[in-house]
C-alpha cells in the first residue's frame, strides 16, 4: 500500500513537471511568433478574418471567406494598399462565441493589423469585447445585432436589425404597398425580434395598420397555419416575414395551400430561398425582400464581381460574399486615408483607421457612395428585391 502511494506521488510530481514544461515551451514559442511577426510586419498588411466554415452557419462563413479572398487578390494584383501587399488569414469559429475569441487570439499572435469579422452576431459581440480592450480595428461584414458595433473601434457593412425593420416599414408605407399588414416573427430569435420591434415602432408613423402580429418559436417552426389563418382573417394585404428563408419556404408553401396570396415581404435573411434544393420557385413569385446585393444587377462593378466570383468558386455570390468584398475594400480605403503603415502597432492602426472610416466613401457592390457614421453604422440606401419568374429583379 505504501509502495502504491509513493508511486502515485512520483507520478503526480512527474505530471506537474511536464505541465510546467509545457508552459515554458509555450511561452517560448509565443515569443518566437512575436519576433517573427515583428520581422515580417514591415513588409505586409495583415488582415484577419473570422467566421464559421464548418457547422450550421457554414454557408455564411464560406461566402465571406470567398468574397474576402477575391478582394484581397484583386488588391494585391493592383499593387496592394499604398504599395504594400496584403495577407489574409481566415480562422473558423463554428458560429461559437468561445471559439471566435480563441480565433481572435490566434490572429493577434499572428500580428493582425485589422479584423474583418466576425460573420455571425453572437460571436461578433464576444470578439467585440476583446477587440475593444486591445484597441484593434474591426469591421464586421454581416453581424447585424446592435451590440456588434457598440464600441468606437467597430464598424459594419450590413444594416443592423433595427435598421432593417425601420427601412422595411418606411418602404412599405412610402410605396403604399398595403394598408393592412400582418407580421409573423420568431420570438426565440434575436435577429427576428430585433427587426420586428423596430418595424412595429416605425409602422406608427406610416400610413398602414398592423392588423395581426403573430409569433412562433424555434420549437414550433414547422406549422404556420394558425399564424397565416389569422393574417388572412384580418384581411392582411401584405405579410411581413422577418426571419430566415428555411422557415419562410414553409410559410409560402402553407399559404399557397390555403389559397392565401398577399404580398410577402422579408429581410436579408430571406436571401437564399431560391437556392433551397427542391423548392418550388413558383411559390416565391412576387416575394419581396430587403437585400443589400443583387447578383443580377446591371451595374458594372457588380457584374465584374459576380463574373470573377463565379469563375473562382463556381457559384453565384450571395450578400455575405458581397458584404465581405466591400468590407475588404473599406479596410483598404481606411488604411490609405489614415496613412497607416505596416510597421505600426495594431492599436495605432486602429486609432488612425477609426478616424479615417468617417471620411471614406466607397462605390462597392452593396452600395454606391457607402459611408460610415461614428456609431459604426453604414449609411446607404436599402434595396428591395422582388422575385419574378424564379429570378431576382430590383424594384425602385
Amino acid at each position: 500500500m505504501k509502495m502504491k502511494k509513493a508511486v502515485s506521488a512520483i507520478l503526480v510530481a512527474a505530471m506537474a513537471m511536464t505541465l510546467m514544461a509545457g508552459c515554458g515551451s509555450k511561452s517560448d514559442s509565443g515569443s518566437d511568433k512575436a519576433a517573427d511577426a515583428g520581422s515580417e510586419s514591415g513588409s505586409v498588411f495583415k488582415i484577419g478574418a473570422i467566421g464559421p466554415v464548418t457547422g450550421g452557419a457554414a454557408v455564411y462563413g464560406e461566402a465571406v471567406k470567398n468574397g474576402a479572398e477575391l478582394a484581397v487578390k484583386e488588391i494585391n494584383e493592383a499593387g496592394g494598399i499604398g504599395g504594400t501587399q496584403v495577407e489574409l488569414k481566415y480562422e473558423d469559429d463554428e458560429h461559437d462565441a468561445e471559439k471566435a475569441v480563441n480565433a481572435y487570439n490566434t490572429l493577434k499572435d499572428w500580428g493582425m493589423h485589422a479584423l474583418l469579422g466576425t460573420v455571425t452576431s453572437a460571436p461578433c459581440v464576444a470578439v467585440g469585447e476583446v477587440a475593444q480592450a486591445d484597441n484593434t480595428f474591426m469591421l464586421t461584414p454581416s453581424g447585424t445585432a446592435v451590440e456588434c458595433v457598440q464600441y468606437d473601434n467597430a464598424f459594419r457593412v450590413c444594416f443592423s436589425d433595427p435598421m432593417q425593420g425601420l427601412e422595411s416599414a418606411k418602404y412599405i408605407g412610402e410605396k403604399g404597398l398595403a394598408k393592412k399588414v400582418a407580421a409573423i416573427y420568431d420570438s426565440s430569435d434575436v435577429y427576428s425580434t430585433g427587426i420586428y420591434e423596430a418595424f412595429v415602432k416605425e409602422a406608427e408613423n406610416q400610413d398602414f395598420e398592423i392588423v395581426a402580429a403573430e409569433a412562433f418559436t424555434a420549437e414550433a417552426k414547422t406549422d404556420f397555419s394558425v399564424q397565416l389563418q389569422k393574417a388572412k382573417d384580418a384581411g392582411a394585404e401584405l405579410v411581413f416575414l422577418p426571419f430566415y428563408y428555411t422557415e419562410a419556404s414553409l410559410v409560402l408553401k402553407q399559404a399557397a395551400g390555403m389559397k392565401f396570396s398577399p404580398i410577402f415581404f422579408g429581410c436579408d435573411g430571406m436571401d437564399g430561398i431560391l437556392a433551397v434544393e427542391g423548392f418550388d420557385v413558383d411559390l416565391a413569385n412576387n416575394l419581396m425582400f430587403m437585400s443589400p446585393f443583387t447578383p443580377t444587377s446591371e451595374d458594372e462593378t457588380i457584374q465584374k464581381f459576380v463574373k470573377d466570383y463565379e469563375e473562382a468558386y463556381g457559384q453565384t455570390p450571395n450578400q455575405f460574399a458581397a458584404d465581405a468584398y466591400d468590407g475588404v475594400y473599406a479596410i483598404k480605403a481606411a488604411m490609405e486615408a489614415g496613412e497607416v503603415t505596416a510597421d505600426m502597432s495594431p492599436s495605432d492602426v486602429c486609432d488612425a483607421m477609426k478616424e479615417a472610416m468617417l471620411e471614406i466613401s466607397i462605390d462597392g457592390v452593396t452600395a454606391k457612395g457607402l459611408t460610415w457614421e461614428a456609431s459604426g453604422e453604414p449609411s446607404k440606401e436599402p434595396m428591395v428585391v422582388k422575385i419574378e419568374n424564379g429570378d431576382y429583379a430590383v424594384v425602385e
Binding site: G56, A215, F216, A220, V226, S249, K259, V276, E277, G278
Partner: protein, 294 residues
C-alpha cells in the same frame, strides 16, 4: 369558419404525432425501453423518399414503399446491434443512453451524406386541395391524406394485435416477458418485429410530415419525435388507442393554444396541459395502472 379550419389543422398535425407516437408506445409496451432514435428514423425515411424521387426518378408510391422497407431494415438492425445486447443489462438507463447515442449517430450520418443545408421536400401526395363553403375553408390534400392514413393505420394495427398470432405474442410479451417465454413465445423475435413495425410507421410518418411541412434537414425528426413522445405519455404509454388520442389532443391543443391564447406560448400551453394530466392521472389518459405484487 376559422374555428373549423384550426380544428382540422390541429387534427392533421395531431395525426402525424399519433403515427410517430405509435412507434414509441409499441416499443415501450413490449421492450420497456424508450427508443429516442425513433424521431431520427423518420428523418431517414424522408431522405430516402426524397433521394428515390429526385435522384433515381422513381414514382412516389414506389419511393414510399422503398422508404418503408429501408426503415424497417434499419429499425431491426438498430435493435439487434445497439439495444438487444443491453436489454438485460443491470441498469435500464444503459439502453436509454444508447438510444440517445443512436439518435446522434443517425443525425450525424445524415449530416455527412446530405449536408446541413435545408432541402425542400416536394409533396408526394397527389390529392388536390378541397375547397369548402365557397372557398372560405380550404383543406389541403396533405391534410386529408394524413388524417386518412392515421385512421387506416390505427384500424390495421388494432386488428393485427387482436387477430394475428404475432399480435397476440406481442400482447403476451408486453404483459409478462418471462411467462411468455415459458409459453414458447420467441421474445427476441417479437421485440424485433415490434421494432420493424415501429420503424415502418416512422417511414410513413416521415413522408406525411415532410409532405405537409416540406423542409428537410438532418434535425427534422428531432422535435416532432419529442412531441410524439409527449403524446405517447399523454395518452398512456404502452397503449395504442392512447397514442391516437394523445397525438390528436396534442395537435389540437397546440393549434388552439396558438390561435386563441398566444402564438408564442403554444409549447408552454401544451406542456402545461401535460403536467396537469399527469398530476391527475399519472399513467396518462388511457394508461393502465398495474399493481405490482410483492
Amino acid at each position: 369558419m376559422s374555428f373549423i379550419s384550426y380544428l382540422i389543422n390541429g387534427i392533421s398535425l395531431g395525426s402525424v404525432y399519433a403515427i410517430i407516437a405509435l412507434g414509441y408506445t409499441m416499443v415501450y409496451g413490449i421492450a420497456k425501453m424508450l427508443n429516442f432514435a425513433h424521431g431520427d428514423v423518420i428523418m431517414i425515411g424522408a431522405y430516402v423518399v426524397m433521394t428515390a424521387i429526385a435522384g433515381a426518378g422513381m414514382p412516389p408510391l414506389l419511393a414510399v414503399l422503398l422508404a418503408v422497407i429501408f426503415c424497417t431494415v434499419l429499425g431491426v438492425v438498430i435493435e439487434s446491434v445497439a439495444y438487444r445486447p443491453l436489454l438485460n443489462a443491470a441498469s435500464s438507463l444503459a439502453v436509454l443512453i444508447t438510444a440517445i447515442g443512436v439518435s446522434y449517430l443517425l443525425q450525424n450520418v445524415a449530416l455527412l451524406i446530405f449536408g446541413a443545408n435545408t432541402k425542400s421536400f416536394s409533396s408526394v401526395v397527389p390529392v388536390p386541395a378541397l375547397a369548402l363553403a365557397g372557398g372560405a375553408l380550404t383543406i389541403s390534400g396533405e391534410t386529408i391524406v394524413t388524417i386518412a392514413s392515421c385512421i387506416v393505420i390505427m384500424i390495421g394495427l388494432t386488428l393485427f394485435i387482436k387477430k394475428s398470432k404475432a399480435g397476440q405474442a406481442m400482447l403476451a410479451v408486453s404483459e409478462d416477458k418471462g411467462a411468455a417465454q415459458l409459453m414458447g413465445i420467441n421474445v427476441n423475435g417479437t421485440i424485433a418485429l415490434t421494432f420493424a413495425i415501429g420503424s415502418a410507421l416512422a417511414a410513413v410518418a416521415g413522408v406525411l410530415l415532410c409532405s405537409a411541412y416540406p423542409s428537410l434537414t438532418p434535425y427534422t425528426g428531432a422535435m416532432p419525435g419529442i412531441k410524439a413522445f409527449v403524446a405517447a405519455v399523454f395518452g398512456g404509454i404502452g397503449s395504442i388507442p392512447g397514442a391516437l388520442i394523445g397525438g390528436i389532443l396534442l395537435g389540437v391543443i397546440e393549434i388552439f393554444g396558438k390561435a386563441y391564447i398566444s402564438s408564442q406560448m403554444a409549447d408552454a400551453i401544451v406542456f402545461g396541459v401535460l403536467i396537469i394530466v399527469l398530476i391527475v392521472k399519472p399513467t396518462g389518459i388511457l394508461g393502465k395502472n398495474i399493481q405490482e405484487k410483492v
